[in-house]
């Protein structure tokens, strides 16, 4: 074997893609391989594009006759996962945030821990510690425990910061992969549908090879639960903000109010989805897995899980003496989530969507001849 495996995910990805491009048996599996065939040479940006287009469904790994112990030692899912981490790091500014992708599980756990401790501490310093024992249940009860400025202020600042960092990273990635200004509405539509439907976790109707070789739809289903759970929770928060600021209706809201219904549904979906995905991850085949990505995935899922479960507990026990404690825990976890948003797994949504857009643009160009 005279193909050298140099250092770094880019060099390895180039080696792997050169072999894949001479084989092409995987052409029908997903978007990555048709995209690969359009490339004559594999530049670093193009490889990062392919890496982010990959959904880690792993069908190609099990279909490949050149996986270890074969001399060629092909492992497409693993090298692409590595490449994605490198891409996130490269485009996340300031650079110190980007470096968090190197040991992301640890970084996210530490930052989330700080958030989770800091918020309750601040709240206890700020307000009367007595409220922890004397829970009230009427309107404004939450703000007796954590004053409104403390609850809303940091969250708002962190969220805006996260959005700016993620959008900047996306812009950098889009420029790098040669994203053009002239994206047709149709291509955007195709990419959006593929993202929302998780088309490439569907294996053309049979599911993907995750956690193991056998095809299964569970990864896709559970991801849907997480996505829609997250979306519902976001909607609940938005409606609640509207109630509070436009309608002057102060939380907590009744059980059948819109924010609570949306939030409960979202929380349940999120709790189920993240539990399931963590379970799948535990059982997943180690060989096509990039070890460095596991920490990132688990930290992100665990935070989402803790957010949803603490929220549901708070709802269930909001009229008991546990309310103040649970509120502090929940807000702490949420603070941790927002704090880690700009340098964690969330980046995959931005990068993969942009890769799907470029793919849709190229497909449309192919069809047009």
């Amino acid at each position: 074997m005279s193909l050298s495996a140099e250092q770094g995910a880019g060099a390895e990805a180039r080696r792997v893609m050169t072999i894949c491009n001479a084989c092409r048996y995987c052409e029908g599996l997903c978007a990555v391989f048709p995209a690969m065939e359009r490339l004559a040479v594999f530049s670093d940006p193009d490889l990062r594009y392919l890496g982010n287009l990959c959904h880690d469904c792993r069908e190609c790994f099990y279909a490949c006759p050149f996986t270890p112990p074969h001399d060629f030692d092909l492992n497409v899912p693993r090298v692409f996962a590595e490449l994605r981490r490198e891409t996130y790091e490269r485009h996340t500014k300031p650079a110190v945030l980007g470096r968090a992708y190197r040991r992301n599980g640890l970084a996210v756990a530490l930052a989330a821990g700080v958030g989770a401790v800091l918020v309750p501490l601040l709240a206890l310093v700020w307000s009367d510690p007595g409220v922890l024992r004397s829970a009230s249940t009427g309107a404004g009860a939450f703000y007796e425990v954590v004053p409104m400025p403390l609850m809303v202020g940091p969250a708002l600042v962190l969220m805006i910061f996260a959005c700016v960092v993620l959008l900047a990273a996306g812009a950098g990635f889009w420029r790098e992969i040669g994203g053009c200004a002239s994206v047709s509405l149709k291509s955007l539509g195709v990419a959006t549908v593929d993202a929302l439907r998780l088309t490439y976790l569907g294996g053309g109707g049979s599911g993907c090879s995750y956690p193991e070789e056998g095809l299964s739809m569970w990864r896709r289903r559970l991801h849907h639960l997480v996505f829609w759970g997250f979306a519902l929770d976001l909607a609940a928060t938005t409606v609640a903000a509207f109630y509070e600021h436009a309608l002057d209706r102060i939380a907590p809201y009744p059980l059948w109010s819109l924010p609570v219904v949306l939030g409960t549904a979202g929380g349940l979906l999120l709790a189920l989805g993240t539990t399931g995905l963590l379970w799948l991850k535990r059982r997943s085949d180690a060989i096509p897995t990039d070890e460095g990505t596991v920490g990132m995935d688990v930290a992100f899922l665990a935070l989402l899980w803790a957010t949803s479960v603490s929220g549901l507990l708070l709802l269930a026990l909001r009229e008991t003496a546990w309310m103040p404690t649970l509120l502090l825990v929940h807000l702490g976890v949420v603070a941790g989530f927002f704090l880690t948003l700009p340098f964690g797994k969330f980046a995959h949504a931005v990068h993969r969507y942009l890769a799907l857009v470029r793919h849709a643009v190229e497909e449309a160009a192919d069809e047009a001849g």
Binding site: A22, Y25, Y62, P69
Partner: protein, 467 residues
Amino acid sequence: MQGGPRGRTGEPYDVVVLGGGNAALCAAMSAADSGARVLVLESAPPALRGGNSRHTRNLRYLHDEPTRYLTGPYPEDEFWEDLLRVTKGNTDEQLARLTLRASRDVGRWMERHGCRFQPSLRGALQLSRTNAFFRGGGKALLNAYCQTAERSGVEFEYDAEVTDVVFDEGPLVSVRLGEQREIRAKAVVAASGGYQANRAWLAESWGPAAENFIVRGTAFDTGLVTRALLARGVRSVGDATQCHAIAVDARAPEHDGGIVTRLDTIPFGIVVDRGAERFYDEGEDLWPKRYAIWGRLIAQQPGQVAWSIVDARVEGRFMPSVFPPLEGASISELAERTGLDSTRLQATVRRYNDAVRPGRYDPTSLDDCSTEDLEPAKSHWALPIDHPPFRAYPLRPGITFTYMGVAVDEQARVLLGDGRAQPNIFAAGEIMAGNVLGEGYLAGLGMTIGTVFGRIAGEGAARVALG
């Protein structure tokens, strides 16, 4: 290695299948569908299971209507003519006709057993009407078949190298794995492939040249079962001096390089031996019709090595290669890189360039770009080699499969020397493909033979075993 519980306790299996590729799995699934207790003995470890089927990607079958994956009908007459053409009549018409007819709409049976098809690959559109492509290729098909078989209760044993098959007029067959182990069965299906990975055996026909062959497929097709059956009186079929071999990159791994080590550069330039001399018409006919002769041609050259030499003019006209070419700004620099004699290589290229006559270059048809007064001639696509950088790919013969195997009847039972069929020994796949494909090659036909005879053998074996 221990066998399954029944193997240990000595109670015979209904059907033992020797091999783990397409034919073996089709036989195992069919036997299990018929209610038999089945054991599959695969000589490879799980990660390398599946024989040469790992490297396949489609199969050819009769169909009267287009399907979601096949763009048009493929009737029996056309299939038969295709087979006659490539084998030059070197086929057993009865078995061949049986193969074609039994392949009718076999895609449905395959889908019921876990196969998933996809439209033809972009690079193989010429097969889109006749051949159905497996989604993800042959290994994905094997994975699906293994899962289906396991769900039907078929037992698998890996790293299980069968060294002998002992049978007589009695009801039981003894399958030997080395000196120590014996597994008994009421019927056996031999689906253990060809013997192209057995260099000692190849050397019997090819001499020491066999040492320099690259085996394109599995390292586990050693032909031990074929040997054992022939030694015990089963009749052979097919020519032992024949094999399917193409030109592959000499830097390919010794085994299992599969499709990616092939080189399609030959008609775009010239090919020289290690003495820097041309030895055959590189433009004799369209490449799909000629690529399969180049394995033999290179095998006949000293050292079983050759160099394909092209220039920058034809860049991008062939499938990308896995291995980068050796490159030189001049022919002498290229000679230095390749170790070829510089003076002789320059002379060969000059002689060739001088002999090239102008014409209209068209790589898709037999164009009129040819050489004049050159021996050997280049009949088509002859362009001067004068656009630097010059590039060279080292070539070796890459053996795909062998033709010799065991003779079978229409029920896939092996035939003995006196023409009688052995009622409890069946054969399917490459081990008996020579009955149908005596020479030549037809894309996807090996998988057809394996699927059709695998099913016949599996059903027949189950019938014998279950009485």
